[in-house]
């Protein structure tokens, strides 16, 4: 037990030294000393609760994805039936109960309709996207399959994550983290953010831009009651516009979607100096926009953002260049936010902020200062207690304790883990608990001496008999730590990480290293009695 060959000593000391070296860059950064950039610099990352920043959890509603998918399916089915040769006439199309159903006006078309729908129903993936059934030989019903819906949600989340990433990049913040979580969530973490509201505005805006013709046949009294003429829909004006609280009727079909934009910039209108957003269509969008404006000169069309009308100007002349201006009672700030959102593309689904944790940089710095101070005082108290209780063996335990803290920090740096505010509490807890092993060993040595064992045998037995309990205690702590890690997120996870790594470093320093030192001392000094 007390035999340490030279290679073992070198190996243990080397390991300790390496871990401590890895802690140096992080330690020096606390006192604002820069680590030479030529050297590798493993650093302990500070969590958002210490460095300041925002953690935002976004959630999409899968039902909304399903509803959008149904809407698209309706368009697809209409055009498939219309473009069939000869045309298949359908009627009574409904999207109630999450299913798409329609009547074939001529029952003999049923086989042709089924054949035409087959590629759409089967989809391009491995699994079928819709279940097709025919009732009474003339009613066709399409029911979304679970797999098909799941794929649709997954695709929507993938592209939503991409859009979120582009929007945050536009803000120019450093090192944002954007991760999809579960089926319908996205975690966004942005360190050192001045204004989290700006970020949330940007992420909360779906930015689905549409241009639709105003239905001038609608009676104002009907519109006020929310009754739309056939083929039209009622859309309210957006908050902050001059017509807030009113609505207008627009034609459902034949509009243009904003997804064919290549650029969007915040600019000022040359005539009235109002903040506007200048947009530029891609080639296809430009030609569709040109056709729409050419065919409808003199008529009003509505600019709709996320289901609300921004403005409904008259088309004074055909717009052929593919460039246009959107006005909508913007401030320079809101116009800029919209421009960013349009540039980065519309979100395929609305995202709601379901959790936010923001910590200002001042609070974080204050926490570090207070945490470090408390840790120092606590360490000194533990050290005093250990030395007055166990003398020389207390000194060994103290040195082991200091090395333990340094190694813990070093290993965290090498592994690139994050130190959070509860993580600081984890450090303090580790300091208080790490000496437990020394207490166990030292008390056992005391006992063995009392029973009359000689010095070497007492020390040897002390380490040996105490090891069993130390081992079991650390395993149970490890179990609790792992569950803490699995359960927690963010700050709590940081706590678990410190506790878990601390278990390994404390066994190493408090048991292995002290045993090596005690063995060295016993061999050199050959004491006949122990003051313990």
């Amino acid at each position: 037990m007390l035999e340490f060959p030279r290679w073992k000593k070198i190996w243990l000391s080397g390991l300790t030294l390496l871990a401590i070296l890895a802690a140096l860059p992080s330690l020096l950064s606390v006192v604002n000393v820069r680590w030479p950039s030529a050297l590798p610099d493993p650093m302990v990352n500070l969590g958002l609760d210490l460095a300041g920043g925002s953690h935002i959890l976004l959630e999409a509603d899968p039902d909304e994805v399903a509803a959008l998918r149904l809407e698209n399916a309706e368009e697809t089915v209409r055009s498939l039936m219309r473009d069939a040769e000869p045309r298949i006439r359908i009627g009574d199309l409904s999207t109630a109960n999450g299913r798409l159903s329609f009547m074939l006006e001529n029952g003999s078309d049923v086989d042709r309709a089924r054949e035409l729908l087959l590629p759409f129903v089967n989809g391009t993936g491995m699994t079928r996207e819709w279940d097709l059934s025919v009732l009474d030989r003339s009613r066709v019903v399409l029911t979304p399959t679970e797999d098909g819906l799941g794929t649709a949600v997954a695709q929507a989340m993938d592209s939503a994550t991409e859009v979120v990433r582009r929007r945050i990049d536009e803000l120019g913040t450093r090192e944002p983290t954007i991760i999809q979580q579960g089926d319908n969530r996205i975690v966004v973490q942005v360190p050192g953010l001045e204004n989290p509201d700006q970020l949330k505005d940007l992420l909360g805006q779906t930015a689905a831009l549409e241009f639709k013709l105003v239905d001038q046949t609608a009676l104002p009294s009907d519109v006020a009651q929310g009754i739309a003429p056939p083929g039209s829909q009622i859309v309210p004006y957006a908050a902050g516009t001059p017509f807030e609280g009113q609505s207008i009727a627009v034609r459902r079909l034949g509009g243009i979607q904003g997804d064919s934009l290549v650029n969007a910039q915040q600019t000022f209108d040359q005539q009235n100096n109002e903040a506007v957003v200048s947009i530029e269509f891609d080639q296809q969008g430009a030609s569709r926009f040109a056709r729409l404006t050419t065919e409808n000169v003199g008529k009003p069309f509505a600019i709709i953002l996320d289901g609300e009308v921004l403005s409904a100007p008259n088309i004074n002349e055909p717009i052929r260049g593919g460039a246009a201006q959107i006005s909508g009672s913007f401030t320079a700030e809101s116009a800029n936010a919209l421009a960013i959102s349009l540039r980065s593309g519309a979100l395929p689904v609305d995202l709601a902020v379901v959790e936010e944790r923001t910590v200002g940089p001042d609070l974080g710095a204050d926490s570090i200062r207070k945490g470090l101070l408390a840790m120092m005082i606590g360490s000194v108290a533990v050290i005093v207690l250990m030395i007055v209780s166990y003398g020389r063996f207390g000194v060994y335990a103290t040195v082991a304790l200091v090395l333990n803290v340094l190694m813990l920090l070093g290993i965290m740096a090498i592994m690139g883990t994050t130190l959070t505010l509860p993580g600081i509490a984890g450090f303090v807890l580790t300091i208080g608990a790490a000496v437990d092993a020394n207490v166990l060993i030292n008390e056992r040595i005391r006992e063995e001496r009392k029973r009359g064992r000689r010095v070497v045998a007492a020390v040897e037995n002390g380490y040996k008999e105490a090891s069993r309990a130390i081992y079991d205690a650390n395993v149970t702590n490890f179990i609790a730590g792992v569950l803490l890690f699995l359960f927690g997120s963010g700050p709590i996870r940081g706590f678990a990480v410190v506790l878990i790594i601390g278990l390994f470093t404390s066994v190493f320093t408090a048991v292995t290293l002290t045993r090596m030192w005690v063995a060295g001392w016993l061999r050199k000094a050959r004491p006949t009695d122990l003051n313990i």
């Binding site: 609760d49 959630e59 509201d197 909360g204 709601a352 902020v353 379901v354 959790e355 936010e356 944790r357 910590v359 200002g360 001042d362 609070l363 204050d366 926490s367 207070k370 945490g371 408390a374 840790m375 606590g378 108290a381 207690l385 007055v388 209780s389 003398g391 509860p422 600081i424 509490a425 303090v428 807890l429 300091i431 208080g432 608990a433 000496v435 437990d436 207490v439 166990l440 008390e443 005391r446 006992e447 009392k450 008999e465 069993r468 079991d472 205690a473 149970t476 702590n477 179990i479 609790a480 730590g481 569950l483 803490l484 359960f487 927690g488 700050p491 709590i492 706590f495 506790l499 003051n531």
Partner: protein
């Protein structure tokens, strides 16, 4: 140098003599704790109740005008009654608002509330600095509650299983009971004093589960050792011997943990207070339960010196013979 001995050598305290009254008291305390949890309820923080906690500093002011803040926030539409408290220095406050019933099924509600509150505060008090915002929607807080309960149960069961494997089933049951005792009493304290119950407290309880078991394991390890050594000793006497032999270590370890944690409780960041307070409390409860819950239950569960004999492996036997013990 004469070394400090907090616990004198060769103590012979008759712990087990009082096991019945202590057990009755402990069982009553456990029952009272759960009664409190169910009648008083836990004072859920934003993590578990949903809503927001906003921390703010009134820069350049001596003291924050807490009643005025309460009026400002309380007067807002769609915002429930706020709890405004000092948080750290006199010019630092924490404002806690729970979700109103309208928020049900509306995931974005909490975020809009946050916006309303921070906007109103900034408009009313130009010197305010918003230091931190925690905003949790009803759905997420419900998930936290569920996850927390599972984590606590899983930790207790996993650890009890481990003890069962390493010792005997009686010890596993004893450890589980001691842990249940610790968790119950901690929850009871939080219900009694209506201290804020947050994710951090769950983390604290999980840490307590780990550390309180350290004591239990040390005592159990010694009981096992003595069971093999003193085959004829009556069990209560043997348990008393084991507890006394490990008493110095039990006291010392709890003490080192306490002296490390108390400075953090007194001088540490205000946002860590709940976590550290819960762990500190748990250390007391855990130390008590290792002595008075975990050990005596072995008598009722019928542990005998024979419990370990059939299980003794070949390696153990060789070791024993090598040591020259019976």
């Amino acid at each position: 140098m004469r070394l400090l001995k907090l616990v004198p050598d060769d103590t012979n305290i008759n712990f087990l003599k009082w096991r019945m009254p202590f057990y009755v008291v402990s069982l009553l305390l456990i029952a009272a704790s759960w009664a409190l949890v169910f009648t008083q309820g836990l004072n859920y923080g934003v993590d578990f109740a949903g809503g927001q906690e906003i921390r703010a500093t009134f820069v350049g002011q001596e003291e924050a005008d807490i009643p005025a803040i309460r009026r400002t926030v309380g007067g807002l539409q769609d915002v429930g009654d706020p709890v405004v408290q000092r948080f750290g220095s006199p010019n630092e406050v924490s404002i806690r608002v729970k979700l109103p019933p309208e928020a049900e099924g509306n995931p974005g509600f909490a975020d809009r509330m946050t916006r309303t509150i921070t906007d109103a505060l900034q408009a009313q008090y130009p010197s305010i600095r918003i230091d931190g915002v925690d905003s949790v929607s009803g759905k997420v807080s419900g998930e936290f509650r569920e996850k927390a309960a599972y984590a606590l149960l899983a930790a207790m069961l996993a650890i009890a299983m481990y003890i069962w494997v390493r010792f005997e089933w009686q010890f596993g049951v004893g450890a589980l009971f001691a842990l249940f005792h610790d968790v119950s009493l901690t929850l009871g304290m939080f219900a009694l004093f209506q201290m804020e119950f947050s994710l951090q407290i769950i983390a604290a309880i999980l840490a307590i589960i780990g550390y309180s078991l350290n004591d239990t394991i040390v005592v159990y390890d010694r009981i096992r050792e003595n069971l093999k050594k003193f085959r004829k000793m009556p069990l209560p006497e043997l348990l008393d011997l084991s507890v006394n032999e490990t008493l110095a270590r039990t006291v010392m370890t709890s003490l080192t943990l306490l002296v490390a944690l108390i400075p953090l409780l007194l001088f540490g960041p205000a946002s860590l207070f709940g976590l550290v307070a819960a762990i500190t409390l748990g250390i007391f409860v855990g130390t008590y339960s290792s002595v008075y819950m975990a050990a005596p239950i072995l008598i009722w569960l019928g542990v005998t010196s024979r419990s370990f004999v059939p299980q003794e492996g070949a390696a153990d036997r060789q070791e024993r013979i090598a040591r020259g013990e019976g």
